[in-house]
């Protein structure tokens, strides 16, 4: 009887393993995957802590630990590549009237992977909707340039963002 129940459990495991019908949803961005997975166990590590070649060795280790797929690992590495690119990163394309498009800045740096903007985005960090009105422009600018200045455990990466791009975000996130 005892062995029968054991066998039943094992059969259940293996049959589910083999026959589960898979529904795939919209693939998540690398920033969203970091938001969703790292904090399940530990604080997110700053991307700059390791070089990209080191991350490429670390991520297969984390793939098994965090139950990530190979596609998800590649998306995370792609985001890390953007976030760790030196300051000379190409600027976000300016629109026709030669101003930086703030939504493209948010997309490029994966801000909504961790922060909500107008109801959409992650929850690892605070919502950005009221960040300017509550904390002020000086706080916002410093936080983007020095993410750990007010919280030593903050997982926010230091992005290769330009002053023009920060200015565009300030205007976009300021109360109208």
């Amino acid at each position: 009887m005892k062995h029968q129940s054991t066998i039943n459990i094992f059969v259940l495991f293996t049959s589910l393993f083999a026959s589960l019908h898979v529904h795939s949803s919209e693939p998540l961005s690398g920033a969203e995957l970091i938001n969703n997975n790292c904090a399940r166990c530990h604080n997110s590590r700053p991307i700059q802590e390791f070089s990209m070649s080191e991350w490429k060795v670390i991520m297969p280790h984390m793939r098994e630990k965090a139950h990530l797929t190979g596609t998800e690992v590649q998306a995370i590495l792609k985001f890390m590549e953007i976030a760790s690119t030196p300051v000379q990163a190409p600027k976000v394309l300016a629109s026709v009237n030669n101003t930086v498009e703030p939504r493209e800045v948010l997309t490029r740096y994966g801000c909504q992977g961790c922060h909500q903007v107008q109801g959409a985005g992650g929850t690892l960090g605070p919502s950005l909707d009221n960040i300017i009105s509550e904390k002020g422009i000086a706080f916002f600018e410093r936080k983007v340039k020095e993410p750990q200045f007010n919280n030593s455990a903050s997982a926010m990466p230091k992005m290769p963002i330009t002053d023009e791009e920060i200015a565009a975000l300030v205007v976009f996130l300021s109360p109208q």
Partner: protein, 392 residues
């Protein structure tokens, strides 16, 4: 494994990996990375009337053979009470990424039973200074008799990951050498009175207790089972089990686990364990918990005949971490941790733990904690500790 053998193994592994590291150091696409964690702890225990500093260094060696294969090994290096260096191979395995969502693992690996052993045990990840009582002390000491003191074992495992709508479903199955009876150990030591038992538990987790003391509610002797991983098996039956979990990320992960292994030489006596684990993550708090129920077979005498009977135990822990710095900005990266744990039926005990953590950066934390364990049949245990833990 004897200490000298462990040291030899560690030295060989260190040497081999250092050579590999230097061989590849100049290549732009590195294949080797050294990560890991360590900690320094000051602990004052009431029952043993001791206070001491201790330190551990736990390097993790990662090596990518190619896109399909990845090798990982973790060593725990620490000092024991006699000043000897103790080295333990926590895991050493190879992952083969069969396809996008399937991973095969072989070697000595962290057992996918619950979440503590597989994911939460490193000291810079565990929000408490101590291991939850139901999992044992992992080389340290504690007053609660653990439910399933197993961290890793030798064998094979497979993992499958699915996206089902907005949820992710994780399947893990494993087959390992499994447990064995403690009575087969040559170096066992039998102790008699309550104080000796408590002291023995604290400092020698493999000590066999007097069967007359370790009884269930019917007065039957509770069998002692040894879980430490070895490269041998005392019977032909392999331990097996697995875990199914559903995760609605980034907020919720709930899993259920199963473990079964024969521990006697004849392969007739099993230990079976069922577990439920939960992990809730929010912006301001984390709630982690596990429940484990075990059934351990033993021969008991009924009408002058030996028959197999099962002894049940259960236990659980719940750990809450609150990011108080999110509510009061001046507290910065301070957290408050509260944990409660219980073991029931045989070796009943109850524990409360409170702690304050301060993060110096996302991977370095200073923890201050106080733990009070109420043991039903033995002296209670109170302890205070400060730990500096770091991941690297």
């Amino acid at each position: 494994m004897r200490t000298k053998e462990k040291i030899r193994l560690a030295t060989a592994l260190f040497g081999a990996l250092t050579v590999q590291s230097s061989l590849y150091a100049n290549e732009s696409n590195d294949r080797f990375v050294l990560v890991g964690y360590g900690d320094v702890k000051y602990e004052n225990t009431d029952v043993a009337n001791t206070s001491a500093f201790s330190a551990r260094f736990v390097p993790i060696f990662l090596f990518s053979l190619n896109d399909k294969m990845h090798v990982e090994a973790e060593l725990e290096v620490g000092l024991n009470e006699d000043g000897e260096t103790e080295t333990e191979l926590e895991y050493a395995d190879i992952h083969y990424f069969l396809n996008d969502n399937t991973t095969i693992t072989a070697g000595k690996f962290l057992l996918p039973f619950g979440q503590f052993s597989a994911n939460w045990h490193p000291s810079w990840i565990n929000r408490s200074i101590w291991t939850p009582g139901i999992y044992g002390a992992h080389g340290s000491s504690q007053a609660m008799d653990p439910m399933l003191p197993i961290l890793s074992d030798v064998g094979v495992a497979a993992q499958q990951v699915y996206q089902v709508g907005s949820a992710k479903v994780f399947f893990d199955v494993f087959m390992t050498n499994g447990p064995r009876s403690e009575a087969e150990h040559d170096e066992e030591e039998v102790v008699e009175d309550d104080h000796d038992i408590a002291f023995a538990r604290l400092f020698s987790p493999t000590t066999t207790l007097d069967p007359d003391v370790d009884e269930d509610e019917h007065g039957e002797a509770f069998p002692e089972v040894e879980f430490e991983a070895t490269s041998s098996d005392n019977n032909s039956n392999k331990a097996f089990g697995g875990r199914i979990a559903v995760a609605f990320l980034p907020s919720i992960e709930i899993g259920t686990s199963y473990y079964q292994g024969a521990y006697d030489e004849g392969g007739q006596l099993d230990i079976r364990a069922n577990g439920i684990d939960i992990n809730l993550i929010s912006t301001h708090a984390i709630l982690r918990g596990e429940y484990i129920r075990t059934e351990t077979d033993a021969f008991v005498e009924r009408d002058h005949e030996d028959v197999i009977d099962s002894f049940s135990r259960n236990g659980w822990f719940l750990q809450g971490t609150f990011f108080v710095g999110h509510l009061f900005e001046e507290l910065g990266s301070t957290e408050i941790v509260i944990e409660h744990a219980q073991t029931k039926k045989v070796e009943e005990a109850e524990r409360w733990m409170v702690g304050i953590n301060y993060w110096l950066d996302p991977r370095s934390v200073i923890k201050v904690g106080y733990e009070d364990t109420d043991v039903a049949d033995g002296p209670d245990d109170k302890r205070f500790a400060v730990q500096f833990s770091y991941g690297f």
